[in-house]
Structures are given as C-alpha cells and as structure tokens.
Symmetry: none
Subunit: 255 residues, 3 copies
C-alpha cells in the first residue's frame, strides 16, 4: 500500500479500513480529493469533520459508508458512545425518525464489532435516568423552549398555534432536544447546518446558517470548511446552495 | 416492559414489535415523543397517520422502518392489501419508481410474514384486468385527465405541449392514476402532500397543499396533524416548509 | 480572471456564467476539482456528463444550479429542447413528478432567457399529437411493454399483479416512456443510473447498473466516469454505493 499523505489521512479517518489501490476514477478521487485534500485541511477539527460526514452518510442511506464512518468515529476515539447516541436524537429531529433509527442500528453493530476486534466484552449502553428528560411540567418546559428557540435561532419564537409548533418545535425540539447535555450547542449547530443543507428547505437553511455565524459559535473559516466537507459527501449541487447561504449570512453580519 | 400510554400506543401502532426498554436518548424520545405524543394525538385517524408515515419511511429508504411500518399497517388491519398496492403506484408518481419498487418488495415480504405468523397460506395477489386501465381511446382519456387535473388541483390544466405534460400529467397521472379506485381522493391527497413536502419542489408543494385545504377534502385540524406527523418522520427542516405552506394556503382560503 | 484549463472548462460547461474568483475552499474546489478535474476528463462526452449532472441538480432541488445547468445545456448547443423535454418525463418516472415539474419550469425560464439574450423571439413549444402516445389498445401496449422491460432490464418481466406493475411498470414506464423517441436508450440508461444512485433503493440500483453494463450500451470506462461525475454532484457517500454496484456488475459480466 502506498504511503502518501492522502493514504495516511485515510488511515487516521478510517482506521481498520483496508483500502485497495484505487483502480477507478472514483477510487482515485476518493483518495486524492476526499482524503488528500478535504480531510487533510486545517480550519476544522477531525471531530467536527466527522459530525458533518456522519450527518451526510446517515442521510444518504449509503449502507457501507454509514457502517464505516460510525465505526471509525468510535474506533478512533474522536467521538464517544454517549455523544454518538445524542447525535442520533438530534439527527432524528432534522432528518426524520427512520434514518435515525437506521444509524442507531449501525452504532449498535459497530460498538459490538469494535469490542470484538479488541477481544473485549461489549459494555452495555448506559441506563438513562428520567432526570435526562427535563421538566415534566409543561408550562415550565414550554417557557424554556421559547428561551432556547430564541437563543439558538436569534429570532423570535413562533406562537404555539399549531401542533407542529406547539408539541413539536417548542416542547420537543427546543423544549428538550437542544438543551440536552452530551453534545455542545456548537456541535448541534454543525449537525443542524449539514441537515438543513441536505434537506434544502430554503428558510431553515438560511435561518440556521445565519444563527450559526451570527452567534459566533462557528467562525467563517470553520463554516467554509463545513461547506467543503458537506459538498464532498453530499455533492456540489447542494453544496452550492449551502455556500450561497453562508456568504449571504456572513455579509449580513458585517452590517 | 412498562405499561404506559406511550407503550400502549406503540403496541397498537407496531403490533408484534417487541420494543426494548429504551436505553438511548433516541429510543426514549421515540417512546415519549413519537408514540406518547404524536401518534396518540386526536385530530387525525390512525389510518391517515399511517399514510403519512408510510410515505416518509418509503422515501427515506431506511430498510427496517419500511418493513416494520408496512407489516404494522397490514397486521393491525388499518390498511388492506388492495389499498397498500394502490399506494405503491401513487407513491411511484410522486417519489419515483425505484423507491416504489422497494416498498412493493417490502409489502410482498410482510404479506408473506403476516400469514406465516398466523399459520396461514399466503394468498396470492390478484391478476389485474385491463378493465382497470381506463379508456383506451386517447382523446377520451385526455379529456378525463384534464377534468381530473382541474378537480384535484383547483387550477387550469396545462397545455399538452411537452412529453411530461402530454404523456405524463394528462394521460397518466390525472388521466389514470388519480381516478383509480382502491384509495379515496382524500387519501391520495394525504400521500401527495407528504410527498411534495419531502420532495420540496416549491410550486408543487404550494399547489397540492392549497388544493387539499381549499377543496375541503382535508380540514385545517387534519392538515396540522399531518404537518406534525410528517415532521417527526422526515424531519423538522422540511416540516417547517410544509408548515409554512399550510399557513399560507389557509390564510388565502379565508380571502 | 484566470485563464487556466480549469477556468476554460468552466466557461465551456457554463457559458455566460461569470465565475467570481473563488475566495472560499468550496469555490476553489469547484474550480479545481469539479471543472479542472472531473468535467475535463476524457472517457465520457460533455453531453453525457450533462445528463448525469442535470439528473443530480434536479433531484437535489438546488435552485441556482438547476437554472445554471439547464441554461448551459441549451446555450452550449449540447442538448436541444426536444431532448431536454423528453428528459423531464424520464426523470419524472425515476425521481418523481414534483421534481420533474420544477425542472420543466426551469427549462421554460432558461429557454426564454436564452432567446432574450440573443435578441430573438422565443419559439413556443410544439403541441404534441396523440400519435406520440403509442398504441391505444391495451393488449398491444402491454405486450410491447413486456418486450421493452426484458430488453432494457435483461430480466423477465414481473406478472401484472399489482397496480404498480400493471398500470405503472408494464403499461406506462416500459409500455410507453422507454420507447419514446427524442432520447436514445443509452441516454435513458444514463439518466436512470444517476437516478437509482441518488434514490438508493438497493434492487433497482443493482438491476439498472447491471443492465447498463451487460447490454453493452455503456462501457466500463464510461460507467466509471459516470460514477465520478455523479459523486461530484451528489456526493461521495451515495457515490460509493454506485461505485460498488458498478464493480459487482462488471465482475458478474466476466462470468
């Protein structure tokens, strides 16, 4: 096997993945562009690049990349089990329950595989206490949901005048999920930006990109790297829409 | 296993599905938000919620959720085989033939499993006669297609000046598929609304949501529940776009 | 503005598109990887690369890339209006009616823009006669549909025992759409391969990739270039699944 920077990066990104010498244009582009260029760049941490990539592969339903990248995130030590399981729930909110269910299955398989490869017993997943569910009093939950919505989105919260907004957005998405520990708000923003980019619903795309930059939780340099990482895994078509949203949001920050 | 309202709803929605005690944030949220909240809500029937869910899981390509929800729809008795197979064709139009092909495979597998579980021989699917294909005279078919287009969309039909409009829209989609028995127009509207929401092509999204509400085939309360069911199964980003389309269409109905 | 091979290729691919000097990692990767590498490669014609790209951008719902690539295909002379409108119908079958509706709107806008830019009156689209719809006798249509299915897919046709298979597959998709003139079978295969790759339903992906290679309509070299073009526009995650399908199909051809 070659020992080039591209191949060394590939080995760090996907440990225990034995890459054959690429014999196709796609294989060579994966080695040279994806690993030799995109993953090797400074400006965004390896862990943050994994958040973008995990979101993309899980949404893309590509069976083997999902297994490979979940395994690699855990095996490399870049992402622990707890954070990975929090990712599943956040991802479920933005890309829907079925895809999240599938990626949680992949986590179970790869967690088990990881321990078998190490000759270890597979630890069971931690029992969650009901403390993790947040306030059970709905008025308290709702009030915190409104605050969290404003904090995250930097816009006023919508009135609770539909099931989607009341039970969904204010009580569940912002009243609970965004407030959970185990993933930082900055990490939740990364997963959300990748999700709205692949979903390409125009208003959420603009809102979340703008909030990520205007809050200062992500710098322009980091966001530019997120755009490239996303474009590599979900394509330059949707990547262009994300790139445009970033430039628009950055220009409005200067004002 | 717990016996709570959430768990009882889950058991009705997914019979013969043995849910493990949720040990992950995602599993917890599935039990408490998805089943304890969304599926338990009044305002939209269980069968109608299944139409939204089936559309979402089939479009999401998540293998196990597709099998689970197809099985559950048939096993619960909420949806019969004939209606399920009509769904496949309608879904094929709105989400593409490959995904429809996959869900039809899931129906075959789950129909077989259902009967094996009951110790019964699996009834074969009926051969369909050409009587079900509608008029064989193009001018008659086209004229009915134009009428159906106007009836469903509440807008004038396009001129037949492209293959898509001529052979596709007027002769096949409205000239045949929307007129088939086995699914009511109201049910076809539910599948279509979920489809245009996940496809997020802006004009079809506005057109079909508006027509669903302005025709009176779906009430505002039902549509609001569809938005929440959809957001849970295909994500809150696209859910937001659907929610906005519903509000816009409802506001214009008052005018 | 630079005058490099990448920039010259970009100017051929997207004429009248004024590219700003790339100031972001994404912009530079678009110039260097997308145009400097992928579009510049031999092994697949410019027109065939456009079919892959049009399928990807239309499915991706990215508003500006759709307008840009539709305009460029027409303005460059690489694809004429008739073929573009046939593409819409074929694309509707494989990626669903709403996205096809949107791309047909883009074609109307860009056809008009093209003629305004040239100071010409915009020719209207031709009214299509019912002669273009094929046989109106259902038994004849069905028989031809079965033949076409076998010819295209290199597998037996399914029995007509569901609406999807009877009214859909045998009477419409293969009974009509695949037989229409205006796009060659080879071109229909290119659009279909890109569609099943982005849809990622496993069996249609394998079937259509295998049939494209085993029929000889697409060579291994051309297919390898399609994989790379697709991966660039729809991402390396789904690209990997397509690459695997190609290798599997090619290996089985040797047997």
């Amino acid at each position: 096997m070659d020992d080039t920077p591209a191949v060394r990066t590939l080995a760090e990104v996907l440990p225990t993945h034995e890459p054959p010498s690429p014999t196709t244009p796609f294989g060579r582009a994966a080695r040279d562009f994806l690993y030799g260029e995109v993953w090797s760049r400074p400006g965004l941490s390896r862990r943050d690049r994994r958040w973008v990539t995990l979101t993309c592969v899980a949404a893309a339903d590509s069976p083997q990349p999902i297994e490979d990248h979940v395994h690699a995130a855990l095996a490399s030590g870049d992402i622990g089990l707890e954070a990975m399981l929090e990712f599943v729930l956040h991802f479920a909110v933005y890309c829907g329950w079925p895809k999240a269910s599938h990626v949680e299955g992949a986590i179970a398989r790869q967690w088990d595989r990881l321990h078998r490869e190490r000759g270890e017993q597979t630890p069971s997943w931690p029992q969650l206490s009901d403390d993790t569910l947040g306030p059970a009093a709905w008025d308290e939950r709702f009030a915190r949901g409104v605050e969290e919505f404003i904090d995250v989105n930097l816009t006023p919260a919508p009135p609770p005048n539909s099931p989607y907004r009341h039970a969904g957005i204010l009580n569940f998405v912002f009243g609970h999920v965004w407030q959970r520990p185990g993933l930082t708000r900055r990490e939740r923003r990364i997963v959300t930006v990748a999700s709205v980019a692949l979903d390409d619903s125009p208003v959420p795309l603009q809102t979340h990109v703008r909030a990520a930059l205007h809050s200062g939780d992500l710098t322009k340099e980091e966001m530019d790297e997120i755009v490239l990482q996303f474009a590599a895994y979900y394509g330059f078509a949707k990547g262009e829409a994300l790139a445009d949203a970033v430039e628009t949001a950055w220009a409005s920050k200067a004002d």
